[in-house]
Symmetry: C2
Subunit: 165 residues, 2 copies
């Protein structure tokens, strides 16, 4: 690449690329900020962690139970050791392990009645916090962000980032 | 709370609260999707990790160097053990440790010339990937998302989520 082309590439970059990069950094900053608050509130109000909450949320959506691998795949937050979380939740009586019907080597994890009750309390509080965090946006702004995120997700899901290389 | 009030609360919840919760879940899904792609590309193309990239990015923005605590605070991704990352980056010659001027017990970490070069290559590739991931949105949509995220961040920064309890 000649020097003039480099400069040309960089001046274009400073317009378009820079907008996307700024958007991604602001996006991450918002996600981190809200995630930190949610972690803190779960700890202070319920003595629990975000990975545990996330684990319970996946089971709540699947009353028939899930295998450990299915829970891992569905988790919204990273950094959780699903086996360790399952052990803790079994010990506190919120979930039970059952032999899997279709695979004798695997087992399924399900919420207990106490688990459903406990998760219900946390989920209501969590929803209240999220509503409060997003209260800086009005309903129209939220709707257009929902739409933009759907487009972003559709596009990013089919791209590995190398298309523009 | 009487039964009628519960139903009333829940029907309001299913409109407003539900929109915010859906927005947050979609937000997290997009952040996770893009972060996974970035991690994969850094590994495949540069044999490095997102926390290492993030660590170098903080040093690039602060040519005078940063203390370890300052790097931790500024990291955009979680799960990185900054001391371990610093050790690896020192071993590969990308950063150096220097005694801190204002605090003899602390030290400052700085990019070496090789570190600046290596980070420059990664940062250009990273910017290309991000541009490609966000290419599903046009410039106007990106501008309005940037603006909405700024409002979201301002509001969430001053709220601990309990205001709406």
């Amino acid at each position: 690449m000649k020097r003039a082309e480099v400069i040309d590439y960089e001046s274009r970059a400073s317009r378009d690329d820079h907008q996307s990069l700024r958007l991604w950094l602001r996006f991450l900053a918002c996600a981190n900020l809200i995630e930190r608050r949610v972690r803190r509130n779960l700890r202070v109000e319920f003595g629990t962690t975000l990975p545990r909450f996330d684990f319970l949320a996946q089971l709540q959506r699947h009353p028939m139970g899930l295998k450990m691998g299915e829970i891992s795949e569905r988790m919204m937050v990273t950094g959780g050791n699903v086996t360790g979380i399952a052990d803790e939740l079994v010990a506190s009586g919120l979930v039970v392990r059952e032999a899997s019907r279709d695979d004798r080597r695997a087992y399924t994890v399900k919420l207990t009645a106490a688990g459903r009750r406990s998760f219900g309390d946390m989920a209501r509080a969590h929803e209240r916090w999220i509503v409060e965090f997003f209260a800086g946006l009005n309903s129209r702004e939220k709707a257009s962000m929902l739409e933009a995120l759907a487009k972003l997700k559709r596009h990013a899901a089919t791209s590995n980032g190398d298309g523009a290389a």
